[in-house]
Amino acid sequence: MSYIPHTAAETQDMLAKIGVASFDELFDAVPAGQRFPTLDLPPAMSEMEIAAEMLAISEANDHAGDFAMFRGAGAYHHFIPSVVNHMLLRGEFYTAYTPYQPEISQGTLQATYEYQSMMCALTGMDAANASHYDGATSLAEAVTVALEVSRNRRKKIILSHAIHPQYREVLRTYHQGKDIRIIGDRGRGELVDLMEMLDSNTAMVAVQYPNFFGQVEDLRRLADTVHASGGLLVVVANPLALSLFTPPGEFGADIVVGEGQPLGIPLTFGGPYLGYFAIKQRLVRKIAGRIIGETVDVEGKRAYVMTLRPREQDIKRERATSNICTNQGLMALAAAVYLSLMGKNGLRQVGELNYHKAHYAAAQIDRLDGYSVDMTKPFFNEFVVACPRPIAEINAALLDAGVIGGYDLAQHYYHLPNHMLLCVTECNTRAEIDRLVDILEGLR
């Protein structure tokens, strides 16, 4: 039977050793009336059949391998060097558990420490944890830290509406059992409007960088104002944009979180991704989840281990601030390999490719009759296009021509009908961009 090695003879020997005549006797503690139901599932398949079935399912989807991809909105089609996948396929990495036994887990532990270090480098922060589930849950966990920092005395959380709508939903899901107020994101508030909401009851302000509409804003004044009121500034940052733009640690962010998927992790229909979480030194003991530290073994040899363990659920139980246990470890490894390969210059080069291609596309589209892009505000690889027609119509026409168009902003922003969020990355060739522009031009 598939992945079970037992022969009939071995099974008999083992049952005899236990002293039972059949498997069934082993389950005598299960209520008799409910024992041994039939499972109505499709019949077993051979490996050949599974391979064929999975291929058929794969081919029933329109994907970035076959289509020119211009959709982002929190999940991005980027170039992933071949080495990343080869390293993820090392069985020693992907078939290991959480490194509870550090003596035989130094591979995972050191790679995670390197990941933490490189996330500090990108964000300009002092410490990063080993991962959360995704960017959205990292943001939700940041709220917990902010509430803890104020010893639960401050009860107001201010969110920019230009944070990914699904992240804001997740944050509300996480904190529905708490007596707090989450405000700021119901209107079209600018940064100055968020500043006006600040008071001595505010635990934190969160903004996205670049924001959900792709724009890169100067957050220095916001940081100073938040700190003057005694709250924390949480920045949700696209880590790839940090190849070019000022790291949030430099302008005073207290916590930087976000989605690590752009760093070498494929789209895979939304997951597994990588929630990164980076923090300033003075708050490091408030961080949730696993974190790896350097130490030595009894012979003085450098080694790595999960540290600050007493914060975690298995030790602190009902007094833990988060229940996280399993995280996204392998995805942190992917990011570590990706960042090691890219390095200082490669990552900057990828960032510039995104920037230039997006700006080329934006300029071409802005020139079209009926379309406009706000070219006055700085952006990275995403921008909003005001279109002459409903986005669903435009996207249907694009799809027919082999192009996956932008994200329809009207789904979440009712004041933005006929607006799409377009994403252009290093993967989009000039020919693809020109084709996109041509098709749009015909859709006035």
Partner: protein, 505 residues
């Protein structure tokens, strides 16, 4: 030799990638918003490959040996599933694709929802939770909202046995409810008297529900499960099952039919999706009819299309769409869960079918009971008998006491570390908390009798060493890449980030 840190392999100007030149005119960069410095290492491609390959060789893994880590179900992770996950229509599919562009992926999710429901006897399943702990969180939030909607917001106590995994009590607090711990009786089961007391008097009206692990974290089937469920539900509470141990239950019993209202599955345990050195996982949740509208979303809904689809293979017979349940507790993460885990679990269930999964459970339980018998007499087996002294079998895992009265200096941890020298991964240490010096052993069904015999032999030999040469255990491991670590130093002098990664380094 230690493997250097990646930064130590760095030399200015070196690069590990080969990128194209821009094929578009360049645009001016906004200088005032740019960073000055990006302190990432500069390493060549081969050096990066060697670095991570060498790191991988410092790890123990299922692919290299037996990994009897209790509660974690470290079974073989089929290679075909890794191939499937890398097919372009799955790996390169955008999560915000329009539904007509991702019908294949949505069909897969829909099938997996219904298969998981069938396996555990639940009405509806949501695949969105990213791990077991997030599934628990979803379950407790649903229970909370259910009581609020019925006008009973005062129900805020969740009963949790003292043998529970740490995520259970932590979940209760996170959801804004109160945890009340229930002691185990002498047989390691829920103490029915304590349960009756918790469900009596003033407390009764405050009970929101109870979390239970089945089989328990001791690896034991709860013989009084029907009474426990009945008691909690009789005072208006709901029953949550921690499904981490489903590997002992497939085609043996359906938790939903036993009366549980809700449970999470660990696709990264029972359904063989790899643990990845700590994650990712998937903690899908199943619910009965009363909670189905509260599920976290989105879930996939199937609408049959009119016409005689069976006659023509080219015409789809159904359309799949996203659906947010009407009273949903909300989204738990962006998009729709760890799809990469869903597709592996799908392929895994495909390989077995219903009877095959029964065989998985049988062999998992067989292996555990066999190993337990082989260790009997060498190690103490706590809770070896039922409350009335009868013989009992374990589920897919069992606990031994990792200490010996005639070897007072030896602890469970020493036995674990010595097992490393024998070439095995240690069992889970010090869990469940109700057994002092616990070693929780879960061999899984994919281990052969030969390998179990070797593990038993190693454990026997260690038991002997514990009396004769305890220092060997206390100094272990001596064959691993590093010796025991100074964990106190790690926590006292925090080094969480390589100095070279700091600005200006």
């Amino acid at each position: 030799m230690s493997e250097p840190i990646i930064y130590d392999l760095s030399a200015p100007g070196r690069s590990g990638v080969n990128l194209p030149a821009p094929d578009v005119p360049t645009a001016p960069l906004p200088n005032e918003l740019l960073r000055d410095d990006l302190p990432l290492p500069e390493v060549g491609e081969l050096q990066v490959v060697r670095h991570f390959v060498r790191l991988s060789q410092l790890n123990y893994s299922i692919d290299t040996g037996l990994y009897p880590l209790g509660s974690c179900t470290m079974k073989y992770n089929p290679k075909i599933n890794e191939d499937a996950a890398r097919l372009p229509g799955l790996a390169q599919l955008h999560p915000l694709a329009d539904p007509e562009s991702c019908q294949g992926a949505m069909m897969l999710m829909h099938e997996l929802q219904s298969w998981l429901g069938e396996i555990s006897g639940f009405e509806a399943v949501s695949l969105t939770p990213a791990a077991g702990a997030q599934g628990e969180f979803a379950g407790i939030l649903m229970i909370r909202q259910y009581h609020i909607d019925r006008g009973e917001p005062e129900r805020d106590i969740i009963l949790v046995p003292d043998s529970a995994h740490g995520t259970n009590p932590a979940t209760v607090t996170m959801a804004g409810l109160r945890m009340q711990q229930l002691p185990a009786n002498a047989a390691g089961e829920v103490d029915l008297d304590a349960l009756h007391e918790a469900c009596s008097g003033e407390n009764a009206g405050q009970i929101a529900g109870m979390m239970m692990t089945m089989p328990s974290t001791l690896g034991l089937f709860e013989p009084n499960i029907a009474q426990v469920i009945e008691r909690v539900q009789s005072v208006g509470g709901l029953m949550y099952m921690d499904g981490a141990n489903m590997n002992a239950l497939m085609a043996v019993v359906k938790p939903g039919k036993l009366g549980f209202d809700c449970m999470h599955y660990n696709l990264h345990k029972t359904f063989s999706t790899p643990h990845g050195g700590g994650g990712p996982g998937s903690g899908a949740v199943g619910v009965n009819a009363r909670l189905r509208d509260y599920l976290p979303g989105p879930v996939v809904r199937r609408d049959a299309l009119p016409g005689d689809a069976a006659a023509d293979d080219e015409v789809p017979s159904a359309r799949y769409d996203w659906h947010m349940p009407s009273k949903s507790i909300g989204r738990l993460k962006a998009f729709a869960g760890n799809f990469g885990m869903h597709l592996r679990a799908y392929a895994y269930i495909r390989a077995y079918g219903g009877e095959g999964l029964r065989q998985v459970t049988r062999c998992a339980v067989l292996n555990a009971n066999y190993l337990r018998e082989k260790l009997r007499g060498e190690y103490a087996l706590p809770y070896d008998q039922t409350a009335d002294g009868a013989r009992r079998y374990c589920g897919h895992e069992f606990v031994v006491r990792g200490a010996f009265d005639d070897a007072p200096g030896v602890h469970a941890l020493d036995i674990s570390k010595r097992l490393i020298d024998y070439g095995f991964h240690p069992p889970t240490n010090y869990f469940p908390l109700i057994v002092p010096e616990a070693l929780l052993i879960e061999p899984t069904e994919t281990e052969s009798k030969d390998d179990l015999d070797k593990l038993a032999e190693a454990m026997r030999s260690i038991a002997k060493e514990a009396r004769e040469t305890p220092q060997l255990l206390q100094d272990a491991p001596s064959t691993a890449p590093v010796r025991r670590l100074d964990e106190a130093k790690a926590a006292r002098q925090l080094h969480l980030c390589c100095p070279a990664a700091r600005p200006g380094a």
